[in-house]
């Protein structure tokens, strides 16, 4: 292990400008996935890039979103996959076919998030969020396991 050369400018630049703006752009790509190029896979991958770039430059410390531990990331990946699968099963429960979002009553979400989205668009929006969560957590999980050594019996 070579000695780490700390660079104040790099820390400041990455923590203050690079990572937050990459994440903001990822949210834009995710939320506007229905009207412009974008969607779940892309948004999740860009969001993961924001976390990975801070971990590449700062290591695993407070500035690089260390609250996203491996256990948390695994739970997030399960949550994203579960959202997608649950929306698929909800179509069956409300009398449609599997993955048919048109029959799921989601119009009450308009009170929380005003907009003239129909049920089907709201279902697509929810599963895009699930995909983004799953892709985001899995990419950071891959990066963490391949980059930082696991200590002894430190099972996540």
């Amino acid at each position: 292990m070579t000695e780490r050369h700390e660079s104040v400018l790099l820390h400041f630049f990455v923590r203050t400008f690079l990572a937050p703006f990459i994440m903001l752009f990822a949210l834009y790509v995710l939320v506007h996935g229905e009207a412009s190029p974008g969607g779940g896979f892309q948004g999740g991958a860009i969001f993961a890039a924001g976390v990975i770039i801070s971990r590449l430059s700062l290591g695993l410390n407070q500035g690089s979103y260390s609250f996203l531990s491996r256990k948390t990331l695994l739970i997030l990946a399960c949550l994203g996959l579960g959202t997608f699968t649950f929306m698929g099963i909800a179509g069956v429960l409300f009398g449609g076919s599997f993955l048919n979002y048109g029959v799921v009553p989601l119009s009450w979400l308009d009170y929380i998030w005003p907009g003239d989205l129909g049920q089907r668009q709201m279902g697509i929006f929810i599963i895009e969020g699930g995909i983004a969560l799953g892709v985001f957590a899995t990419i950071i999980l891959l990066f963490d396991f391949l980059t930082f050594e696991t200590k002894g019996e430190d099972v996540p």
């Binding site: 969607g39 779940g40 990946a77 993955l99 668009q121 696991t150």
Partner: protein, 91 residues
């Protein structure tokens, strides 16, 4: 084996480039892949789904099974890396 690799690759590339003469031209409007199902997606997305991005509509709604399997694939990759890189107690 290493000596054989280059001739094999060159023969493969020549066969591939000759076989492209039967493929449709670049940017051909009437190529078979542009006439089969994609006009249906383009013309019916506005009415069926109601969102502007046709790629998102096909990804999330028309071909939702595909995307669900895809999410399972990447989740499985994450779990596989977890299983490979985690050190066992007994080794």
């Amino acid at each position: 084996m290493n000596k054989l690799a280059l001739p094999i690759v060159i023969i493969f590339a020549i066969i591939f480039i000759f076989s492209t003469s039967t493929l449709p031209n670049r940017a051909d409007v009437n190529s078979p892949s542009n006439l089969h199902v994609s006009p249906t997606y383009i013309e019916h997305t506005e009415k069926d789904i109601g969102i502007e991005n046709i790629v998102s509509a096909v990804l999330a709604d028309y071909r939702g099974y595909d995307t669900l399997g895809e999410t399972f694939v990447i989740f499985t990759a994450g779990v596989a890396v977890l299983a490979v890189m985690t050190r066992r107690r007994t080794s």
